[in-house]
């Protein structure tokens, strides 16, 4: 496979990061690292639909929470189920919802698609809030195992490792899309959907692939969340923070390549963590929104774009 060296490099980087965190042996590093890597996955997932295909999804929390709540359900039904299996289930569920959304909103272009996805998030939240099995509005507690399976150490080590693995998968997928016929098809839809359709690009199928993949990765990013937070209620699972970060990070980093969401997530995620510790948690949530507005105005190509232009 052409992408194999890239994947190996990613795995090596992930291994180094994980090794470093282990060497530091500081659970705070794992907690922070988990959040940043989670945002890389979310941002990459959003970028597959938003950056590559040009469909702006505002309903990130719907997919993210579907992943998270499918883990809550599975944990209640089959407590012994391993986390990777839950992630697969969560990803598939969110992917199906993604394809369904793509299918139902086919007629909607531009801003109408975006509003429809925002409405979708409200509906999914309403459904979860009214579903007593997962705690309804009160929320659900998930007991986090004390010790990590396979690798030993704290469970947060394990969560971080899992998220790193997801991140490798998401980035490898994103890069593979960029360099394949699929990526060109997405770009054709983004640039001029009518023209793409007229020249034989199977726009319907491509859009469903994009919404499915994008939704699926968001679901997978959300699946470990209940174990990370141990208490999940609709208000926090559907927090607008996730949506804003997932959009802001690719836009700040640059939407044209897989590297953009990584750069954006590391910078913004890191800055937010720094502000949360030094100033207050209220200010840190504003950062992503403000930075996003500033960046789309003054640096529309994002950070990656700035460097590309200089060369």
């Amino acid at each position: 496979m052409r992408g194999t060296p890239f994947i190996l490099i990613l795995i090596a980087i992930a291994a180094v990061i994980f090794g470093l965190a282990r060497w530091l042996d500081n659970s705070y590093a794992f907690f922070v690292g988990y959040v940043v890597v989670q945002y890389i996955v979310l941002g990459t997932a959003w970028n597959i639909l938003g950056g590559y295909t040009g469909y702006v999804n505002f309903g990130i929390t719907a997919f993210f929470a579907i992943g998270a709540y499918s883990s809550v359900v599975l944990h209640k039904l089959v407590p012994a189920m391993p986390l990777p299996a839950m992630i697969v289930v969560g990803g598939v569920m969110a992917g199906i919802v993604g394809i369904g959304t793509g299918y139902l909103t086919l007629r909607l272009r531009g801003v109408f698609f975006s509003i429809a996805t925002l409405a979708l998030a409200v509906v999914v939240q309403t459904l979860i809030t009214n579903w007593d099995f997962v705690g309804g509005a009160r929320g659900a507690y998930v007991l986090r195992p004390r010790v990590a399976p396979l690798i030993g150490g704290g469970y947060i080590d394990y969560l971080f490792l899992i998220m790193l693995g997801l991140c490798v998968a998401a980035l490898a997928t994103a890069r593979a899309i960029e360099r394949s016929a699929l990526g060109f098809g997405f770009a054709a839809i983004r640039d001029d959907e009518a023209a793409a359709e007229a020249s034989g690009v199977p726009t319907l199928r491509l859009k469903l692939i994009a919404t499915g993949l994008s939704g699926g990765f968001m679901g997978m990013a959300g699946a470990p969340l209940p174990f990370y937070v141990t208490y999940l209620d609709p208000a926090s699972g559907f927090s607008l923070n996730y949506a804003v970060n997932a959009i802001a990070m690719p836009l700040i980093g640059g939407t044209s390549s897989w590297l953009g969401p990584v750069v954006g997530a590391v910078l913004v995620g890191g800055l937010q963590e720094y502000l949360r510790v030094t100033i207050s948690s209220a200010v840190n949530v504003l950062v992503a929104g403000v930075l996003m507005v500033v960046f789309v105005i003054i640096a529309p190509q994002g950070i990656v774009g700035l460097f590309k232009r200089k060369r």
């Binding site: 409405a119 409200v122 939240q125 929104g289 529309p300």
Partner: protein, 242 residues
């Protein structure tokens, strides 16, 4: 009620309108400024979809977090003499808390519709989405028209928000619920159709109210999306779409 109805009506409507009007005018001006930024940064660069949308989404988020920083996440309500009592009719009661916003909204919607269909500016606002060059050939500056339209729409939304706090307590994230509702109403009514919008808004209000009564208020937010999906599947142009 022993207070004279006329007096009560007048006092409350003028009070509400005055406060709401001030807020709406200031926010309308802010809206015009926002549009100017949007125009310079996105529309002129022909970059409206991805980054332009994200710009507004960012503003939504900043507004919401700003409100949280100022007012906290709790529900807030206002007090006024007319919140509480009802107008008692033979068969049913009309709570003033609903009646006042209803009358204000109706006056506003009808006023706006008259402005849009009878004034030169209003007609230009209706035309600007169809053909900007043609509008220039009518001696109108499309950017100016859109700036006015944007300010007007923000001001209208602000007045509606001022009415909302009379109907029910509000919290900073409540606006998001209304995005779906407003969108569902516009699509159901047919984009750009005033009578369609009226019918759709009444329909959604009734269906939501029934849903709240029979299934519980927590289900109400899902109604709009259901209406939206059915409309898109059955009649995408809406009831009275042009």
């Amino acid at each position: 009620m022993d207070v004279s109805l006329d007096l009560l009506m007048n006092a409350m409507i003028s009070g509400l309108l005055l406060g709401g009007f001030y807020a709406a005018v200031s926010i309308g001006l802010l809206g015009m400024a926002v549009y100017q930024v949007y125009y310079v940064a996105f529309e002129r660069r022909d970059d409206q979809s991805l980054r332009g949308l994200s710009f507004f989404f960012g503003l939504l988020f900043i507004a919401e977090v700003g409100l949280i920083l100022v007012f906290g996440v709790d529900y807030r309500s206002v007090n006024a003499r007319y919140i509480g009592p009802s107008l008692q009719l033979v068969l049913f009661d009309l709570p003033w808390r609903l009646l006042v916003p209803f009358l204000v909204s109706m006056a506003m919607a009808i006023g706006l519709q008259i402005f849009l269909s009878r004034s030169f500016l209003g007609r230009a606002i209706q035309a600007v989405a169809q053909d900007q060059l043609a509008l220039q050939l009518m001696a109108a500056n499309p950017t100016r028209i859109k700036r006015i339209a944007f300010g007007l729409s923000i001001a209208t939304a602000a007045l509606a928000g001022a009415c909302l706090i009379i109907i029910q307590p509000v919290e900073p994230s409540i606006g998001r619920e209304y995005i779906g509702r407003v969108f569902a109403i516009c699509v159901l009514g047919g984009l750009g159709s005033f009578p369609g919008m009226m019918i759709a808004a009444m329909t959604l209000g009734i269906v939501e109210s029934l849903t709240s009564t029979f299934f519980g208020p927590s289900w109400a937010p899902a109604v709009a999306f259901g209406v939206l999906l059915v409309t898109l599947a059955v009649r995408p142009s809406g009831i009275l779409g042009r």
